[in-house]
Symmetry: C2
Subunit: 174 residues, 2 copies
């Protein structure tokens, strides 16, 4: 009987825990749902093997630019802490931030902390860099005219400069 | 005692239903999460008052095109059944489908049923139309060069032609 009563007790315990477990499972599913990104609309693409960045960046060329239809349209997905080197777009670039938090900085100007939903317009010829915040993934769709020339790559962002931004990046929705 | 035993029975019944209810609530929250669209990344924008479409279409100009940075980048969100008139982009257009199911048709070609995740490249000068399927909302980000001329609007898509497509649109993920 002790065995049975113990079993009964276990069943009662399980019953009591079932709503909590079910709710927890629901919550996990919910969080997964909310975490949906454009990555689930368009594939993340291929891990970049280029030498113009530090950290992992995935690229998906959604539409190549050519002489018939100028702008390239591409998705880029950054691991937290990944960042491009300084560079110039001869035809400029528009970035539609679709996920996370990152940095955008033009030469000689303060860094901008940018978030999902922000749109950045970088004028032709302007030296700049962009990358993920140290504590957040980051993704965008980039629209880049190609017929005025290819991207000109400059030096990497110094680790010292990037480290000095860390303090700011923890502030949400700045 | 009858009252009490009835209450006990009700409580037992409620206990039995609680996991189901909790799961159902979790499922609803999950579906809401999954239903997240780019609309939650970028605002839906303003209801179009233009006369070049039937049905409700919302527009959000994310980045205007000009002589410095050519392509316009805009989000469009369609009610089920909303559709643009036939038209021509002198500089072409790329559509990144971010939500739902719609139609895309170039003059003289069969209609294409397009889905979230599809990328459509419409060459400069091609007569075409696009719109939502009758049973699905539809949204995209459009990249449209502006410096080769404004969109040329033609006649509406005939209701007869649109109605004839209805049968096809119910097939998911065609």
């Amino acid at each position: 009987m002790k065995q049975l009563s113990s079993t009964k007790g276990e069943i009662a315990g399980m019953r009591a825990k079932l709503p909590i477990t079910t709710f927890a499972v629901g919550l996990v599913l919910l969080v997964q749902g909310r975490a949906q990104t454009t990555e689930q609309i368009f594939p993340k693409g291929d891990l970049s093997a280029a030498k113009n960045h530090t950290g992992k960046i995935w690229l998906n060329e959604l539409s190549e630019g050519d002489s018939t239809f100028d702008p390239s349209v591409a998705m880029a997905t950054y691991d937290a802490g990944a960042k491009l080197d300084w560079h110039i777009h001869p035809g400029g670039q528009v970035l539609l931030i679709t996920e996370g938090t990152g940095y955008y900085q033009e030469r000689g100007k303060p860094v901008r902390i940018v978030h999902k939903g922000d749109v950045i317009k970088c004028a032709p010829g302007v030296e700049h860099w962009h990358g993920a915040a140290p504590n957040s993934g980051f993704a965008y769709i980039a629209v880049t005219p190609t017929q005025k020339g290819k991207t000109i790559w400059l030096e990497p962002v110094s680790e010292k400069d990037y480290e000095s931004l860390k303090e700011r990046s923890v502030r949400p929705n700045e």
